[in-house]
Symmetry: C2
Subunit: 219 residues, 2 copies
DNA sequence: ACAGTTCTCGAACGAACGTTCGAGATGCCA
DNA sequence: TGGCATCTCGAACGTTCGTTCGAGAACTGT
């Protein structure tokens, strides 16, 4: 199926156009399973024409991953700046992640599913961004654990389990059945903080602190 | 690198041998990224010789997935038979999953990562087994929720989040750093049932049948 | 030793792959 | 209008892919 949107004229936004549709093709067929001819068809750019913008298929995957990751991470940094409460910060981490996920499912799947398809030296570069993301999440968690007497829980496992819950979403999320980003955030944060069992007291609400919905135009 | 183990003589166990090493190749290069020549090299069986045992690359992937899934599911059914306590049943689900995971990382990765590489009609068949697995997990969870007054939590999201925590393990697990199946099970079950925040009472132990009356004063 | 089944593999098939190249179109400033 | 840089693409390249085929080796029961 060919592109429904018209192909942008100027070079800059045509590049973005190609990145966008390539992410969709990669997410549907996998990086190895998708051919440059598939991408040519999906973008409306000729096979050889693609190579005017990207020097290789690897570089194309690299740019998708780097752009996506950088955007998510920068946005999270910005949103965290005004928030100090540990639980609110954790909630922001999850919300930021899931909002991007649900609004850019193809890019997010490429990020989650095709990391190993990248060869050196690109692999190393994306891994560095990912490490920054993990480190930030770990700091948020440590702030949370410092708030109260921490349970004897391996923080590495805790943080990676949280990422597991979030990143697995692309395998099952169905917009016709499942709730939006806000409620999904609420559920996952709730499980992570309090578990699925009732606390024998009343039902906890996690809407702490003054977290503005942070409805903002991006930079 | 050629096979280190000798290739079995009889047909039946040679088939198993090929399945085993193919799973490793698929897990390292991905299904699309792995070639039949890679598998030939890894198993020590000639390229054309492979087709005496499997009619296609697709069928090979199918057999790996079906065998692995069926084994895990059957084993779980057997282990659950003697256990009625809801929390113990949940713990058994996680333990069974993670034990297989840590002892057969290649097969588990193929199961988690290559489900979409399978075409029809194989895809449908594996999906049916997966649905049985999910249904069983859902029943275990419902039993848990029925035990005490359930919190207003979407059970679908809860179960799929649990699978997220478990299935994401293959992305980060490092045997030199991370704990074994038992402790990992303990941690993940702990997060799922009680969350990472302390209950303001003493440190909870999850081994019990009845719900400990955790008086909690959350933040 | 023979016949028949089971198993093995080198060689080759057409198709699809990522990438290249040079000729031609298009846009922009003189 | 002319000259130059930017952009486009059909055609082809060498390689690798999954799969097939037929000849022969190895095993089995007699």
């Amino acid at each position: 199926m060919a592109t429904s949107l018209p192909i942008p004229r100027d070079s800059q936004s045509k590049l973005v156009h190609i990145l966008r549709y390539s992410a969709q093709v990669f997410s549907e067929h996998g990086f190895e399973g998708a051919s440059m001819r598939d991408i040519s068809r999906a973008t409306g750019v000729s096979l050889s024409g693609l190579y005017y913008y990207f020097e290789s298929k690897q570089k194309l995957l690299y740019l998708i991953q780097k752009n996506t990751f950088t955007y998510i991470l920068d946005r999270l940094y910005a949103r965290l700046e005004r928030v100090r409460d540990p639980q609110a910060r954790l909630r922001l981490l999850v919300q930021n992640h899931l909002e991007y996920f649900l609004s850019h499912p193809h890019e997010m799947k490429v990020l989650s599913h095709e990391e190993e398809a990248l060869d050196e030296p690109f692999r190393r570069e994306v891994a560095a961004i990912k490490r920054r993301y993990y480190t930030l999440a770990r700091e948020i968690f440590d702030g949370l654990a410092a708030e109260a007497s921490p349970p004897a829980l391996n923080p590495r496992i805790a943080v990676l389990s949280l990422f597991g819950m979030m990143n697995w979403v692309y395998k099952w999320y169905n917009p016709e059945v499942d709730p939006g980003a806000e409620e999904l955030t609420h559920s996952i944060v709730g499980i992570f903080l309090h578990g699925v069992l009732p606390s024998a007291t009343e039902h906890p609400e996690f809407q702490l602190a003054a977290v503005p919905a942070a409805e903002s135009e991006e930079t």
